[in-house]
Amino acid sequence: MSQGTSLRLHVPEPTGRPGHETDFSYLHLSRAGEVRKPPVDASPADTSDLAYTLVRVLDDDGRAVGPWAPPADPDLLRRGLRAMMKTRAFDARMLIAQRQKKISFYMQCLGEEAIATGHALVLQQGDMCFPTYRQQGLLLARDDVTLLELTCELMSNERDPLKGRQLPVCYSMKRAGFFSISGNLATQFIQAVGWGMASAIKGDTRIASGWIGDGATAESDFHTALTFAHVYRAPVILNVVNNQWAISTFQAIAGGEATTFAARGVGCGIASLRVDGNDFLAVLAASRWAAERARSNLGPTLIEWVTYRAGAHSTSDDPSRYRPADDWAHFPLGDPIARLAQHLTAIGAWSQQEHAQTQADMQAQVNTAVKEAERFGSMADGHVAGDAALFEDVYKDMPEHLKRQREQLASEG
């Protein structure tokens, strides 16, 4: 009997804090090529080992190894590398624009570029992503989305497609399969399932892809989405981007201690994978596997992408107050751009010179977009989207009370 033993509340803590190095052994990594690849029609229960291991393709020398290695397609990989570099260049320039007060706020995806860009290259035209605010790679991977229109949204200027109503980064682009971003976490995860259900109801061939971070999995809509996706066998890919941090909160506080987020999927009867999110080839392979399952009416797949939030949470955040300043340098899965560049160089499809040239090109493209966007105004010059659009689109047709309020604003200022 343990009579007399006092109970103690367990509050998880990260091993690393400012001034103390993180012990990343909690990640339970697998070696590249080590994890099996099941058939695409595997039963969810038969993926339980995959929820506790890590699908990886690229080894330390940049070689593609194991059953998940996708068929060699250097052109696609080069396209992916360029998309990642474009995303990083865009983020870097927008951080500066925020410091210059040209935009009010920004969130980068530094270190997570492979996941969204790789996933975007697997999806087909007409599929719909329900992203969070850190999947700009889904847009930047596409040729039909211009840097100018993204920049205008960030500047809330007269060319802002969202008419100045939304915070920077909260893009919406139906034509690019990119659902309107909401500030409320996790809400889009169940909406993605509903979109997939709709596609199934109509006998369509399109699939949905939902996105959520590690911290937001604690929201009730995460659980809701898994239940509905499982119940209705919805054609949806449920992406959990585990970047280890929710603002200042380590992923253990979200429920990651001694378990994985992929394991939640198996528990709900959903085929689940845990994948190296900084391994572009693994991203392609796992996304393809999940997309094929969905398109074949085999049901949803949950993928936990293991990565690291290399940058600050947002331009309003200072990570040096809660984690080691050099944490990313120690993260065992490295940098997705460096790893893919190493692989492409090893197979003779990339070079240091091409890398430097691409980087310069991307920076030039982004600089041009900023200059061009500024012609239509920015927060810095106060030339932003006009008040005319303030009352529109609340309803399809403007009700009387909003017409009265619009007139009042016009007459009283």
Binding site: M128, F130, P161, L162, K163, R165, Q166, C170, S172, M173, K174, F179, S180, S182, G183, N184, T187, I190, Q191, A192, V193, G194, W195, G196, M197, A198, S199, A200, I201, K202, A208, S220, D221, T224, A225, T227, F228, V231, A389, D393, V394, Y395, K396, P399, E400, H401
Partner: protein, 337 residues
């Protein structure tokens, strides 16, 4: 025309819209095979199949959240929350998502969804089967809030709501499902078959949103109400002998301001009646609107009869429910001023 209860009228509205529009989908808890705990969806699954009418897990946030996704795809979901008292887990999806989607995406995405929920008391439903949460929705920009008081309006308003491209909160007073109720709980139920408003067209028709109706014309004062309370107000007028003009709002917000203002300007007196609790209830907005638009015509303070500011009790049902006696007292007070 056919004689229908409100249940049958609502079912008929969904039947009509399922038939007319392949994008209409009906689902919710116990809505499919069983036909709903109030029978409102009886037979619909058998007629249209499981991919059009189906059962959902007990998860209100999931029901509404998935409907928003379906709306973004291009469907027109009509979902049910079993009791309005259980809508709160879906509140984030309703307020943060459905109501804001068109605005925040500048029309790129929309949420043409209808959320049906039985509401109101007078049935010994206690705390979680009697609430009237309309003020939690009228306060939210981007939503339409609708509440019928009879079978004919119920069908026409529900069809109009389903067809509307904005998200609609469709509140159904379950006390009125089987017959009108004037608050005299000690008298036998009168079925809809004995009431002219139980005569309902069988096919397609609409009752436009944002249109109130003069439920009972009168000259002494204006009573603004909706749902079950319309019949209570009618009884109060009859029993006090006061010639009240009773307005049934039907669409709570956005509303038909003209009809209200025209009536109050004519009568010079106004009493507002609802079941929901008083403080910050929808009656406060109605009071403010009447005061702003009819100030120089008012001959008495605007009266307000509402549920007490307490949770809805069980044993004290008739002390809580604003019955004809309490409404009648308010009418007399308004006339004495």
């Amino acid at each position: 025309m056919a004689s229908m209860t409100m249940i049958q009228a609502l079912r008929s509205a969904m039947d009509v819209m399922l038939e007319r529009d392949d994008n209409v989908i009906v689902y919710g808890q116990d809505v499919g095979y069983f036909g709903g705990v109030f029978r409102c969806t009886e037979g619909l699954q058998a007629k249209y199949g499981r991919s059009r009418v189906f059962d959902a897990p007990i998860n209100e946030g999931g029901i509404v959240g998935s409907a928003i996704g379906m709306g973004a795809y291009g469907l027109r979901p009509v979902v049910e929350v079993q009791f309005a008292d259980y809508v709160y887990p879906a509140y984030d999806q309703i307020v943060s998502e459905a109501a804001r989607l068109r605005y925040r995406s500048a029309g790129d995405f929309t949420a043409p969804i209808t959320i049906r929920m039985p509401c109101g008391g007078g049935i010994y439903g206690g705390q979680t089967h009697s609430q009237s949460p309309e003020a939690l929705f009228t306060h939210v920009c981007g939503l339409r809030t609708v509440m019928p008081s009879n079978p004919r309006d119920a069908k026409g308003l529900l069809i109009a709501s389903i067809e509307n491209d904005d998200p609609v909160i469709f509140l159904e007073p379950k006390r009125l499902y089987n017959g009108p109720f004037d608050g005299h709980h000690d008298r036998p139920l009168v079925p809809w078959s004995a009431h002219p408003l139980g005569e309902v067209p069988e096919g397609y028709y609409t009752v436009p949103l944002e249109s109130a109706t003069v439920f009972r014309p009168g000259t002494d004062l204006t009573v603004i109400s909706y749902g079950t309370m319309v019949f209570v107000c009618e009884a109060a007028a009859r029993e006090t002998g006061i010639d009240a003009e009773i307005i049934d709002l039907r669409s709570l917000w956005p509303l038909d301001l003209q009809t209200l203002v025209a009536s109050v300007k004519k009568t010079g007196r106004c009493v507002i009646v609802h079941e929901a609790t008083r403080t910050s209830g929808f009656g406060a907005e109605l009071t403010a609107l009447v005061q702003e638009h009819c100030f120089h015509h008012l001959e008495a303070p605007i009266g307000r009869v509402a549920g007490w500011d307490t949770p809805y009790p069980h044993a004290q049902e008739w002390a809580y429910f604003p019955g004809p006696a309490r409404v009648g007292a308010a009418l007399r007070r308004a006339m004495e001023n």
